[in-house]
């Protein structure tokens, strides 16, 4: 087990290293000189050289790289060139919105995937199964931003039952007292049910749009796992003991089918947390994704660069956590096989 953990951690460190090298190299390969960009087209070449020296761009690459990652891991992410605030502050302000959306979307995605996978496998009803599989195909084939627009047209402009692209709360609503800065949780903590309901309604459409393709992936995976596991002899044995159908399914098929899904769930959560630039844009969601979208438009490199690296690290960390969790709950990983005759 110690070995397993060591291998996983080492793998994660390697992945983060690869991501940093990649992000670093991309920034160096891109055309354009940052100093020139900062100083503008009218600056003298002496001024550009001086600034290059000042920000270290005349140093050898490995020195630059070292400074780059040590700054990154110290949380020293530089300053936004467009509004002068520190990148850490900007991202910090936006992160709760993104995290709230990611967690919400993750929860509904997982629930829907588990529910529908169960529905399509538990009773052998070919029709239900076909509908679920068809839905998952659609989810696979539809680009999330397109689905986002579709959802807005249907639920906001036609049916008027859910709020439009106005961010996390309606214009009249005030944000609840900041504790976690996730509005739904803060609203509950403050006992403001109205605000909670308002925040929840604003989460639904972006949550659906963000989750749809991952949902399709998860439901297919879980369905296949469930089908495979429910044909295992140990399910027959469990039924042979006298267990009811559902009990045998719940106690023996579900845990076994769920284990491989855990890894996939980790990937999905990592993806959600890394944020969706386009979904946030469509819904005017004031999260990190919107910040990055604006930064790309304004060529605000410090923000973009930090975001790329940050999402890579986040992704790796979530998956490391899943791997470790896996090692804890799967006895075949946790306990080595003992050769016994």
């Amino acid at each position: 087990m110690g070995r397993v953990i060591a291998m996983r951690v080492l793998g994660s460190v390697g992945a983060v290293f690869g991501a940093t090298v990649l992000a670093f190299m991309i920034m160096r390969v891109l055309p354009g000189n940052p100093a020139r960009l900062i100083l503008g087209p009218l600056a003298t070449s002496q001024a550009v050289t001086a600034l290059n020296h000042h920000i270290g761009l005349d140093q050898p690459l490995y020195t630059q790289y070292w400074r780059y990652i040590s700054d990154f891991f110290q949380g020293n992410w530089g300053y936004s060139y467009s509004d002068g605030a520190s990148v850490r502050k900007l991202i910090g302000e936006r992160a709760p919105a993104t995290i709230e959306l990611a967690l919400f979307s993750f929860v509904i995605t997982m629930l829907a995937a588990v529910g529908l996978a169960l529905l399509s496998t538990y009773r052998h009803r070919p029709i239900t199964d076909r509908i679920v599989r068809g839905a998952s195909y659609l989810g696979f084939g539809t680009p999330p931003f397109f689905l986002a627009l579709l959802l807005l047209i249907v639920f906001f402009s036609t049916l008027h039952i859910l709020p439009g692209p106005e961010g996390r709360l309606g214009v009249q609503a005030a944000a609840p007292a900041a504790v976690t800065r996730m509005y739904t949780i803060d609203a509950l903590l403050a006992g403001e049910l109205g605000t909670f309901w308002e925040a929840l309604k604003h989460l639904i459409l972006p949550g659906l749009a963000l989750g749809i393709s991952s949902f399709s992936f998860l439901v297919r995976l879980l369905r296949a796992n469930l089908l495979e596991v429910s044909r295992e002899p140990f399910i027959t044995v469990a039924r042979g003991k006298g267990l009811r159908r559902w009990t045998a399914f719940r106690r023996h098929a579900l845990p076994n089918a769920f284990l491989p899904t855990l890894t996939a769930g980790g990937l999905v959560l990592g993806e959600f947390l890394a944020g969706s630039v386009l979904i946030e844009r469509v819904f005017n969601w004031p999260g990190v994704g919107s910040l990055v979208f604006d930064a790309i438009v304004k060529q605000d490199y410090a923000i973009v660069q930090t975001f790329i690296l940050l999402s890579a690290v986040m992704f790796v960390l979530v998956n490391l956590a899943v791997d470790l969790l896996y090692a804890v709950i799967d006895p075949r990983v946790r306990i080595p096989t003992v050769a016994t005759a």
Partner: protein, 336 residues
């Protein structure tokens, strides 16, 4: 005659596989007396496992039992609901499967899987008592340090030990009837003998009737009192165990016996095989289903057109019921 433990009448099971209907079990009837050990032999795909699952009511869609009566301890269980059957399964009739590596849930402890077999029928038992009983069961199937090994997971057990656990689960509630579907096929020869000896001792002690499904006639001769030869979903020959080895009457039984390696016949050349393949169970011939492969009836119109009914015959080693037009003729030839 001993009281009946199980009586199966006209049991038929089919699988609807989109368009074609596979007849896995066709009109099977038999009686199992208390403490009797019936061996069911036949090739792969002859419907042996489907028979086992049909008796337990564990046929899953697209399969279904279309007809039949299954009387267990005086009660017809074939019409019971799943909930009612749950009280019967594991309590009065239990199952041991072929492959011990997949018969146990890999993510649950051995102990919890044995405990489950007990608590499902007696939910009020106290934890400590159930655990003690589970440890006793492990000891009963010769697993040392039983108390400690309850907390192990299946992957920490060897194949033979896992099969012992499967047997412990099956006998946990002292069932009337035990159905063992190829219980030793996946094990190596030494382990096979141990597991069989264990099974032998336990069913003897508990006075359990056994249906042993196997394709190994050697096991049948060692273990069983009676034997049913299954072909294309039907019992084509049913008799006491001696009859089948002395005077196999159905041409299929005879062919099956010739396929058993025998040191005395080594000189006669390579082991014979039954030519041809078992019939497609979705397109059964109208006559005798063995006719296309049968050395006796291959060219006889009667065998291809008319399905044989069971004939009761009496041979040198007891009575038999044989589904062959030539049963009487053949038994006379053997008796001479």
């Amino acid at each position: 005659m001993d009281e009946l433990a199980l009586s199966v009448r006209n049991l038929s099971t089919v699988y609807d596989t989109g368009g074609s209907v596979v007849h896995a079990v066709r009109d099977v009837s038999f009686d199992l007396r208390r403490t009797e050990r019936l061996g069911v032999v036949g090739e792969s795909g002859s419907g042996k496992s489907a028979l086992a699952l049909s008796i337990l009511g564990l046929i899953e869609p697209p399969g279904r039992v279309v007809e039949g009566e299954i009387v267990l301890g005086g009660r017809d269980i074939s019409k019971l609901s799943d909930r009612q059957l749950g009280a019967v399964r594991g309590k009065e009739i239990a199952l041991v499967l072929q492959d011990p590596s997949s018969a146990l849930d890999p993510v649950k402890t051995i102990g919890s899987q044995i405990v489950e077999a007990l608590t499902v029928h007696e939910p009020d038992l106290r934890r400590a008592a159930v655990r003690r009983r589970a440890a006793e069961l492990l000891r009963e199937v010769d697993i040392s340090q039983a108390e400690r090994r309850l907390d192990d997971y299946p992957h920490q057990y060897s194949g033979g030990m896992r099969q012992r656990v499967a047997i412990a689960i099956a006998i946990a509630n002292n069932p009337r009837v035990l159905i063992a579907d190829e219980p030793t096929t996946a094990l190596d020869v030494t382990t096979q003998a141990q597991v069989l000896a264990l099974l032998d001792r336990l069913v003897d002690e508990h006075r359990t009737a056994v249906i042993l499904i196997t394709h190994n006639l050697g096991i049948v001769s060692d273990f069983c009192d009676s034997v049913a030869v299954m072909y294309a979903g039907r019992f084509v020959e049913t008799s006491g165990v001696d009859h089948i080895f002395v005077a196999p009457t159905h041409p299929y039984s005879e062919a099956l016996l010739k396929c058993v390696p025998n040191p005395e016949r080594l000189a006669e050349g390579p082991l014979p095989a039954i030519s041809g393949f078992p019939p497609d169970l979705s397109q059964l011939p109208s006559g005798c289903s063995f006719a296309p492969r049968c050395p006796v009836g291959r060219d006889l119109p009667q065998c291809h057109e008319q399905a044989p009914v069971p004939h009761r015959v009496s041979g040198p080693a007891g009575e038999a019921s044989v589904e062959c037009h030539f049963a009487e003729q053949r038994i006379r030839e053997v008796a001479v």
